[in-house]
Symmetry: C2
Subunit: 181 residues, 2 copies
């Protein structure tokens, strides 16, 4: 914020184009360095894939009124819910969203009766989220009636490529988390 705004007033005798030239020079350096070009490319692609993946899930689950986020909660509960379910924070972490986002998500799902939310009697600070019978039933319908099982969104990628993709993504995430800390 300190090296700017000096076009016409500060240096009266200098060439009037000096600022434009300086800007252009600096920017050229940036562009020539290809600065963060790969980062930008990754960011754009990540954003785009995220968008399309959500679109695909939303379309698959449109009849059932489920969103991609809700589906991810349900399948996480199915896979790892066990006897007592999971806590909101665990679910938020698994879904890579902010805790408050998961609260709102669970609000919606609880209002529809898909999940039950009850405070853990042993640890009254924690909350146990479990799939309700209606939730189980809807999950079953979803995997039966939608193309969830057969059709494959990532068909252009081989099994090995998917794993590689996931690994690279997770490496990048881990690195970013380290920077934060």
């Amino acid at each position: 914020m300190s090296t700017s705004s000096a076009s016409a007033s500060n240096t009266p005798s200098a060439a009037p184009t000096s600022e434009a030239q300086r800007i252009e020079r600096d920017v050229k350096i940036y562009v020539a360095a290809g600065a963060n070009e790969s980062v930008q490319r990754v960011m754009t692609a990540v954003h785009g894939l995220s968008r399309r993946l959500n679109q695909w899930y939303d379309r698959q689950l449109a009849d059932l009124g489920l969103t991609a986020g809700e589906w991810s909660v349900m399948s996480k509960l199915v896979r790892d819910g066990g006897e007592c379910g999971l806590s909101p924070s665990v679910l938020a972490d698994a879904a890579n969203v902010a805790p408050s986002s998961m609260t709102h998500r669970l609000d919606r799902m609880a209002k529809r009766g898909l999940v039950s939310r009850e405070t853990d009697p042993d640890n009254r600070v924690r909350v146990r989220v479990q799939l309700s019978p209606e939730g189980w039933e809807l999950f079953r319908v979803a995997i039966q009636e939608s193309d969830m099982l057969e059709s494959d969104v990532l068909s252009p990628l081989s099994k090995a490529q998917r794993v590689r993709l996931a690994e690279l993504l997770e490496m990048a995430i881990e690195g970013l988390d380290d920077v934060d800390a």
Copy 2:
């Protein structure tokens, strides 16, 4: 929605656990098949990286009041804007967002004077978006004062790994676009 709600009323003589058993069986099939497990993993990771990348950019550019999306517009214009700038739809496509989202983004940026928006005289249906002098100056300040050049978000990934990551992401996107069509 047609094969449900028959626990206690419809089949009085059948075993009351039959529905629960059926649900469990179907779900077990799904889980055993590892159905879409890799897809779910990719989706979660993609979402997470997208989130963190935005956070990182927002923090880098917080002083300047720029968001990641606005930054991507600016650098796209710097790189490929040429003489006449770019159209909103091209920018939306490049940023992988819906056209209407780009309209709003450009609204904000135009209100701040970062970009100019004028209808193309040759093709009055098109709009040309260009970086204003203030936009150029702010871009220059950003690449100077922020750590945009030096610090590297994707440092845990080598150059080759980034390229590989971007390629895989773009393959997946292309495949999803084909499904749509």
